[in-house]
Amino acid sequence: MSSTPSQSRTSGHDAGKPVGLSVNGHDLLFPPLPYDIHARADKATADKQLLDFVHVATYRKDVTRKQVTSAAFGDRHGAFRDLGAAIKQHTLDHLDHYLEQFVDNATAAGVKVHFAQNAEQANAICLDIARRAGAKLCVKSKSMVTEETQLLPQLEAMGVETVETDLGEFIIQLDHDAPSHIVTPMIHKNRQSVARAFERELGAPYTEDPQELTQIARAHLREKYRRADLGISGGNFLVAETGSVVICTNEGNGRFCTSAPRVHVAFVGIEKLVPTLEHLGVMLKLLARTSTGQPLTVYTHVMTGPRRAHEHGGPDEMHVILLDNGRTEILKPETREMLRCIRCGACLNACPVYRKVGGHSYGAVYSGPIGALITPMFRGLANYPDLPNASSLCGACYEACPVKINIPKYLIQLRAEMVSRRITKWSDRMMYRMWARSLGRGWTYRLGGWAQKLFFRWQARVAGTLESGDPYRARGWLNDLPGAAGGWTSQRDMPTPPARSFRQWWDEQNRP
C-alpha cells in the first residue's frame, strides 16, 4: 500500500475554522518504514501516567471480559468460541461464494456495491461518490478501515468537512491525535489533554468533567448531523443471505451517521462476512461480551439497502465499498485463520506487552497481538520486523480470542518466515545455528553448560556476589553482562548456576 503524504498538522488552530481535522495519515500510525519499535516502546514504558491509564483500563476490561463470558456461557464458553471460530473459518473457506451472495442480495436491496483492491481505489470510489453528491459536510462513525485507507485527509483536501462522531474518535480528532486501540481509541488519553483540546478547538470553557465534556461534544455534533450530506461508517459484519451491513455502537452516533445524511457509504473489509442472520446472532453475542463485557452493544444496526418508498428514515443512496487491501494475500491457507478476527479488542486488553507499551508503539493502524500479525502481513514483514518478535508468547491473547485465533503460533510462523527470508540479522542466524548445534550432541551440550557456568561464576566471584552453601543451590549474581545479555542486566540481575549441575548429582548417585 503506498501511503498518502500525511497532512501537515496545523498548530494553533483558530476556533473560526471547521474542526474536522484529519487524524488519518498520522505519522503515529504511518511512521517511516522500516519501523523500529524500541524508541516508542521505551518512551511508553517510561511514561508513568500512560502506563497507569492503559494498564489499569486494559486490566479492568480483561477482568470484566472473563467475568461476563463465564457468567453468560459457563462451561459452554469453549464450545461457543469453537462455534464462532467455525462460522468465520467456514465463511473464509468459501469467501468467493459468500461474497457473490452478498453482492447479489445487497444489490437487490438497492445498495451500490463497489470492490476496491487497495486503499487508493477505495478512497477514489468514496471521493467520487462525495463529488457526485455535492457533499460539503460528512459525519463519520467509527471505522478502522478508513484509518487503514487514510480517507479523511483526502476528503478534506477536496473540501468536505469531515467530523468523527464516535466520542473517542471525536476527541482524538480534536486533539490531532491518533487512535491507539481498536475498540477504545482514546484509551491513552488523560482528562487534562481532552479538556484543553475542547477549550482550544471548540472554544468551550475548561472542564475535566466527563459528563460536561460529553454534553459539549453532543451539542457540537447535533448541529453537524443536521447539516451533513454524507455519512460514512465501517461495518462489523456483512450478512450474505440478506445483503445487510451490520454496525455495533454504544452511543447511537452510528444511527445518525447512516440515516440522517442523504448518502451513506460503508467501508468494509471483505473478511467481515457471515453467511446468515442466524450466524450473525452467535457472532454478536461473542463480540459484545468479549469486547466490552455487555450482553449486546447498545445499538446494533442491521442495514439492508437505502430508504424504501414507504419508509421515513434512511439515506437515499447506500454504498458499500468492499476492501481487499492485502486481505486476499492473508487468505492463503497458511495464514487464513488471522482473517477470522472480529476486532473485538480482547487480545489487546489481555496482552501484557500492549498494557505496557500502548497502541502507538506498534506504529500502525492495528495494534496489539492481532496487529502484530496483520500489520506485517498488510505492510510487509521487512517493514515491521519487531512486531512478531516483541512478544513473550504468553498466550493470553489466544485464550481471550472469541474466534480462537492461535496468535502465538502465527507470531512464531512469522518469525520463521523472517529467518527463511533472511530478514533476521545475519549475526542472529549464526548464533542460533551454533547454539542449536551445540545442543545437538551430548558432549557439546555438557561442554557448553560447563563453560557457561565457569564464566558466570568467575564473574560473580570477581563481583563478590557468590553465595556459599548447598552446591546445588548457592549461586552468584551478575548485574552487568556484555553484549546481548546486557539487555537482561540492564533491567534485573542474572543468577549464575550453582556449583554443581543436576547431572553431576545423578552421576554421583551411581544410578544407571
Partner: protein, 249 residues
C-alpha cells in the same frame, strides 16, 4: 511405574535442586526414575525464534532419546508445552516421525500434572508439612497445557502452608526467552510489575515452577531489593515430605 525424567537444559544447569527434588518425590511415590543421559534441549529457543529446521533436529533427538520410556516427566511447563503444542506439527511432512512425535506427546507430563492426573496424589494423606507464607507464580505456558489451578491445589494440601494468591497472577512475568534481552524495557516493566505484586502478598516464599520465569523474577527481586525465597513446586513438596532439608523462611 517407570518414569523418565526430562530435566530440561535450564533446570540442569541453573536449578539442579529442582531436578533432585523431582527424583526424590517421584521415588517416594513409588516410581522407578531413570534419566536418559543423551537428553539435551527440547529445541524451544530455536523454534520460538523461527529456526524451525534446527528445532526439528532437536525434536528428533528428543523423540529418539525417550523412545523406550513409559512416562516422561519434566519440571517445566514451557518445555512440556513445546512438545505438546509443536512437535507433531514439526513433522507434518513426515508421517512416520509425526506418529512417533504423537507417542511422545501422549506420555509427556508436566511434573505436577503427572502427580495429579496419573499418580493422583494427596499430599495431606502423605503427611506433608511445611510452614510459611507462600504465594505461587503461574507460568504462561501452562495455558497451552490447559492447566489452571493444579499447583495451588497441591500447595493447599500441605499442612502449615499459609497460601496467599498472587494479584494479577495471569499476567506474564516478561521472560519470554530472548524477548527479555531483545526488548529489555518492555520485559523489565513487566517483571517489576510482578515483583510489586509479590511484595504485596508479603509472602516469604514464591513457588515458581519454570526455570525461565524464576531466573527473571528472582533477578528482578534482587535488583529491586525485595528479599524472598524462590522454590519450585517439586522442592516445596520434597521438603514438606521430609525428603530434603527444609528451607528456612
Amino acid at each position: 511405574m517407570k518414569v523418565s525424567l526430562f530435566v530440561t537444559c535450564l533446570t540442569d544447569t541453573f536449578y539442579p535442586r529442582t531436578g533432585i527434588a523431582v527424583v526424590k518425590v517421584l521415588e517416594r511415590l513409588g516410581c522407578a526414575v531413570d534419566f536418559p543421559q543423551a537428553q539435551t534441549c527440547c529445541g524451544q529457543p530455536m523454534f520460538n525464534n523461527g529456526f524451525t529446521d534446527e528445532a526439528r533436529d532437536l525434536a528428533r533427538r528428543m523423540i529418539e532419546v525417550f523412545e523406550d520410556s513409559e512416562y516422561v516427566v519434566t519440571p517445566s511447563g514451557s518445555c512440556c508445552a513445546m512438545i505438546h503444542d509443536y512437535y507433531p506439527q514439526l513433522f507434518k511432512d513426515d508421517p512416520a516421525m509425526a506418529a512417533r512425535a504423537k507417542e511422545l506427546v501422549e506420555k509427556t507430563y508436566e511434573f505436577y500434572q503427572f502427580l495429579l492426573t496419573v499418580l493422583k496424589v494427596d499430599l495431606k494423606s502423605l503427611g506433608a508439612k511445611w510452614s510459611g507464607r507462600v504465594t505461587y507464580h503461574y507460568s504462561c505456558h501452562l495455558r497451552g497445557l490447559g492447566m489452571t489451578d493444579e499447583a495451588v491445589r497441591l500447595i493447599r494440601q500441605i499442612e502449615g502452608v499459609e497460601y496467599v494468591p498472587l494479584p494479577k497472577a495471569e499476567q506474564c512475568c516478561g521472560f519470554g526467552g530472548t524477548f527479555a534481552m531483545k526488548y529489555p524495557q518492555i520485559s523489565g516493566t513487566l517483571v517489576r510489575d510482578k515483583v510489586a505484586c509479590i511484595r504485596d502478598t508479603r509472602a516469604a516464599a514464591v513457588v515458581s515452577n519454570d526455570a525461565g520465569c524464576t531466573m527473571n523474577i528472582s533477578g528482578s527481586c534482587r535488583r529491586e531489593n525485595h528479599a524472598v525465597t524462590f522454590l519450585s513446586l517439586a522442592e516445596i513438596i520434597a521438603e514438606s515430605l521430609g525428603l530434603m532439608e527444609a528451607t528456612a523462611v
